[in-house]
């Protein structure tokens, strides 16, 4: 355990050093991810105002709260491993990782966590700015916030394991960009990014309830907003737990057979 802490600490240091080399591109990516929820916020607030102040259960201040929290959740749970693996496998960079006495997943987890720590210095001030600008309907309860942090942590790992597993498709095809695209489009819809899920058609809601997207993004958001009953909260955690286990099992299976394939073909 101590050994892993030491490795993670070393990974943190290098990732942060690397990220500082790319301040400009880091900021541009960041702006992109902040803009998306702001655009939806403005769109939905406008629609609500046009319809006399409400869309479904949401008034403009609710939308503001929803999208500010969503921005935070999305920032803390997204990963870029799916783009990375394609390169790693084609360029043989994976070989270097495989020769090390540490599973390659650790450096990815560490990379993502350290990136998020760095990002938080921008995300929180941005959230505060948006708070001032949009006057959201967001009340702070310590207990809710504690639950939110739990849900967010599980969401991070769940999403990380799922996207890491999907990234491994690069072992079999060099065209996994298409699969990534599909995943992102589905996610846009079903994770509650384009609109709060309860505003979507019934059928879409039912699909969203089964798939992991909602539980990785919308669930922590709704939880923080205080829109969920106790029963819904426990259901949410159960779904998160279930998907966490499923994604971890899938990851192990896919990794094992991917490595088998890699070591049969080489790079």
């Amino acid at each position: 355990m101590k050994h892993y802490l030491e490795i993670y600490w070393a990974f943190f240091k290098t990732t942060i050093a690397v990220q500082f080399q790319y301040r400009a591109s880091m900021s541009i990516w960041m702006i992109g991810r902040v803009l998306e929820p702001v655009v939806y916020l403005v769109v939905w607030a406008t629609v609500a105002n046009a319809r006399g102040g409400m869309v479904g259960d949401y008034n403009p201040e609710d939308f503001a709260a929803y999208y500010i929290v969503l921005m935070i959740v999305n920032q803390f749970t997204f990963t870029w491993v799916m783009h990375e693996y394609d390169y790693r496998i084609r360029q043989g960079a994976l070989s270097v990782l495989l020769l090390k006495p540490v599973h390659p997943i650790h450096s990815d987890i560490a990379d993502n966590i350290s990136y998020k720590v760095l990002m938080s210095f921008i995300v929180f001030p941005t959230a505060i700015l948006l708070y001032i600008l949009f006057d959201p309907n967001l009340l702070f309860h310590l207990q809710t916030f504690a639950l939110f942090l739990c849900a967010l942590t599980i969401a991070f790992f769940m999403r990380f394991f799922i996207e890491w597993t999907l990234a491994l498709i690069a072992f079999w095809t060099t065209r996994n960009e298409a699969i990534n695209q599909m995943y992102f489009t589905l996610g846009l819809f079903l994770s509650g990014r384009i609109a709060p899920i309860e505003l979507l058609p019934n059928l879409v809601q039912q699909i969203a309830n089964i798939l992991p997207f909602r539980w990785a993004v919308a669930f922590p958001v709704e939880l923080m907003l205080g829109r969920l009953s106790n029963e819904q909260i426990w259901h949410g955690f159960t779904m998160q737990g279930m998907w966490l286990v499923i994604s971890l099992v899938l990851l192990k299976i896919v990794w094992r057979s991917g490595i088998k394939k890699y070591s049969a073909v080489g790079s």
Binding site: E6, A10, K13, G92, L99
Partner: protein, 324 residues
């Protein structure tokens, strides 16, 4: 008592299945329906052992199966059949204790992180390999000293020249002081000085730690300087395994005689094959068995200033091997 070999390979084979298709649109469409594949036997049947502390040159033309073999030895590739054991481990299980004791250096692959100072990448490897701080500091200082890296440590990798980067790559790959080194073209693309530096270093490392080294190189100077023993493979098969000197004896039935004469433009074609004639220096190739006679005749017949008999250059011998 015989020592246990560090590396044992027995009847090793590796067959790749590669997709195949003819050129052209028709073939492209056809390949959507029927996928044709072809088996490529990269390594056909190789058996050898390497004892602890040996430095072995692993030679063969491009595509002979050298890299494939090194990848199987370091656990990156799964052999199609045959047995393979390194330090008592089965490489493709990629056991942590095994990985902790080996290293594979491949020409262009990077250990180092592009954007940060070399020293930081070293530090990262220290954590990954769980090296105690004083042991790590000791090894690092030694490597820095042997390879003359002191000035490079604070520089980001992207600001290094190819040669500087290669030196750092080699050092990074050896920080955990591996017992077995697989070096795939460690000097490729480097200038003569840098090649010599790396070469001397490998020799020094081998002596200091009694490390086992299996090395491929296209530069025969590397092989001559480092390897008493060479293993030659061609088309995935073992052609030769033995001492470098024996290789020359076996595959080159000729010797080279270089004579400096006191006269210009002498015709020595009835003494042997004239390879070059520049002014009063003439190089002859004669069958090995006739070396003594020809030398005697030359000395008796001609005003010889200087005469040397040598084995032909190793490159020539290797060429000879591959043409058989």
């Amino acid at each position: 008592m015989a020592t246990t070999p560090d590396i044992t390979i027995q009847n090793l084979r590796k067959t790749y299945v590669v997709p195949e298709r003819d050129t052209g649109l028709g073939a492209a469409i056809k390949s959507l329906i029927v996928r044709k594949t072809r088996d490529v036997e990269a390594v056909k049947d190789i058996t050898f052992t390497v004892e602890p502390g040996e430095v072995v040159g692993f030679l063969g033309p491009n595509g002979a199966g050298k890299t494939t073999t090194l990848k199987m030895l370091s656990g990156l590739l799964h052999p199609t059949s045959g047995d393979i054991s390194v330090l008592g481990y089965t490489p493709f299980n990629r056991n942590k204790e095994f990985l902790q004791q080996i290293t594979l250096v491949m020409g262009q692959r990077n250990q180092l992180i592009w954007d940060i100072p070399v020293g930081d990448s070293f530090e990262r490897n220290r954590a990954i390999y769980r090296l105690p701080t004083d042991e790590y500091n000791h090894t690092r200082d030694e490597l820095v000293d042997l390879l003359d890296l002191a000035e490079l440590l604070p520089k980001p990798v992207r600001n290094l020249s190819l040669g500087e980067r290669m030196k750092c790559e080699v050092a990074a790959a050896l920080l955990h002081r591996p017992q077995v080194l697989f070096l795939d073209e460690p000097t490729i693309g480097l200038d003569v000085t840098m090649q010599r530096r790396i070469r001397t270093f490998i020799g020094e490392y081998n002596k200091r730690y009694n490390a086992t080294v299996l090395l491929t190189s296209h530069y025969m100077a590397d092989v001559e300087a480092l390897c008493k023993r060479v293993i030659i493979i061609h088309h995935g098969q073992l052609l030769f395994d033995g001492a470098l000197t024996e290789l020359v004896n076996r595959f080159s039935p000729h010797k080279t005689i270089v004579v400096d004469l006191d006269i210009e433009q002498a015709d020595l074609s009835n003494y042997g094959d004239v390879i070059t004639a520049e002014g009063n220096r003439i190089t002859l190739r004669v069958p090995k068995s006739e070396t003594a006679t020809v030398t005697g005749r030359l000395l008796a017949d001609l005003p010889v200033i200087d005469l040397t008999v040598a084995d032909p250059p190793i490159e020539e011998v290797i060429e000879q091997v591959f043409s058989t």
